[in-house]
């Protein structure tokens, strides 16, 4: 990976046993826009704030939620460019799997491979860890699943979780609201309400992004109009 002079890792242990670069990477994530995910009985929803630096930015070209396979989507908190690199890698992993097995990659396998890439960048020479945490949502033979992947490469399956700026409040809100029997429609409403909690200003289809996958196993990013419809139901 490193063509530079650095054949040693820049991520080194501190005397207390911490990898400070990873701690700082987590800080970069915590400074990023809030993202969350909720796994319902019949699907998964992920959502994020789309805070743009200026009103002059053409927000229809900004895409924070990306599809990796027809059944798996991902959202992030942290550094956008790092996210794009990981999405590229994840898509390639998924396609390689499909080419070999003619079967779509199961969510857990994709999460494992992506996490392995992120871990690599904490131990290879001349590179820094990724400054993003990912929320990966998908539907496969094991049902709906939601995973969080951190810059260190550790991953966790969640029933509901949030990452980024407002994550503590959002997670507390989700803890109160979450129930195992929730359906996908209710989950979308809960996601919007959770985003609303920490949002400065008025929520609209233009400043948030929502992605959903249901029993049809087809991951879709909702259009602005669809998001506005859900928002009206929630008001």
């Amino acid at each position: 990976m490193a063509e530079s002079q650095y054949s040693f890792s820049l991520t080194t242990f501190s005397p207390s046993g911490k990898l400070v670069q990873i701690e700082y990477a987590l800080n970069a994530v915590a400074a990023g826009a809030t993202s969350l995910g909720i796994s319902a009985a019949d699907g998964v929803v992920i959502a994020t704030e789309k805070k743009l630096p200026s009103t002059l930015v053409d927000e229809s070209t900004v895409q924070k939620i990306m599809t990796i396979t027809p059944s798996i989507g991902v959202v992030y908190s942290g550094m956008g460019p790092d996210f794009r690199v990981l999405v590229r890698r994840a898509r390639k992993t998924a396609q390689t799997y499909y080419q070999t097995y003619k079967e779509h990659i199961p969510v857990a396998q994709l999460v494992r491979e992506t996490a392995a890439v992120m871990q690599e960048f904490t131990q290879t020479g001349g590179v820094r860890p990724f400054g993003v945490s990912l929320m990966m949502a998908g539907y496969d033979d094991n049902g709906p699943q939601l995973y969080q992947i951190d810059p260190s490469g550790s991953y966790f399956a969640w029933k509901a979780s949030a990452i980024g700026k407002n994550m503590t409040n959002a997670k507390a809100f989700l803890e109160k609201r979450y129930s195992d029997e929730v359906g996908i429609e209710d989950a979308v409403h809960t996601a919007l309400l959770t985003l609303k909690e920490g949002f400065e200003g008025q929520l609209s289809g233009a400043n948030i992004e929502v992605g959903v996958v249901g029993p049809n196993r087809s991951f879709k990013v909702l259009t602005e109009a669809e998001v506005n419809d859900y928002l009206q139901e929630v008001e």
């Binding site: 070999t100 003619k102 396998q109």
Partner: protein
């Protein structure tokens, strides 16, 4: 002399009603000399998936070992057995990886999908895959084997009927093949069990 007829083999796989059967001859020979008559060319991958390999025996053995390696890792990672259709595609991919220095083996995959439907497919030496609903054969006397299977196969055979049909097709098929024969083994795979039978045939 062709590399594919150095050792000799005859393999037949057929689909029945929610069951599949796959069988091979037992001869191991080097050109004209027969060395043993206890070498089956059908290998078990898991309870619902069997693989038959004809061609150069050393390549068949190595390919089988490599596929077991890949399947074992798959099982550890994904915590499930590979579906027969998935296995077929993986095998096709593995063979094409060696496009310009191929394994001289032609496989036949036979198994039951998780929902119970029979799965049969065959490939050439560089992985051109073909699925079939009725039968798949490979070996040193393909014309005889095809001829027998085409006439004997019927849809929806029960496991015992299927066994008889595969047995007759295999035995009559390799009857006139000098390089295959010397006994046969046939596995019948159903939802809850696999019955393997060894046949005594003409030892020539």
């Amino acid at each position: 002399m062709s590399i594919f007829s150095y050792n000799g083999a005859a393999i037949v796989a057929m689909a029945g009603k929610e069951c599949v059967a796959i069988g091979s001859d037992l001869r191991f020979g080097v050109q004209m000399q027969t060395i043993t008559c206890d070498t089956p060319k059908v290998f078990k991958i898991h309870d619902k998936l069997y693989l038959g390999l004809s061609g150069l025996l050393t390549d068949a053995q190595t390919l089988h070992q490599k596929l077991m390696f890949r399947h074992n890792l798959y099982k550890l990672r994904e915590e499930r057995d590979m579906k027969p259709s998935t296995f077929g595609h993986m095998l096709s991919n593995a063979l094409y990886e060696r496009r310009f220095g191929p394994y001289f083996a032609a496989p036949v995959v036979a198994g039951l999908e998780p929902d119970g439907t029979p799965f049969l497919c065959g490939m050439d030496t560089i992985g051109a895959i073909e699925t079939a609903k009725d039968f798949m054969i490979t070996g040193t006397s393909p014309e005889s084997l095809y001829g027998m299977c085409e006439s004997m196969w019927r849809p929806d055979m029960e496991p015992d009927e299927l066994f008889e049909t595969v047995a007759q097709c295999l035995m009559s098929g390799f009857d006139r093949d000098a390089l295959a024969g010397w006994g046969a083994v046939i596995h019948v795979i159903t939802k809850d069990k696999v019955i393997s039978r060894t046949l005594k045939t003409r030892m020539d």
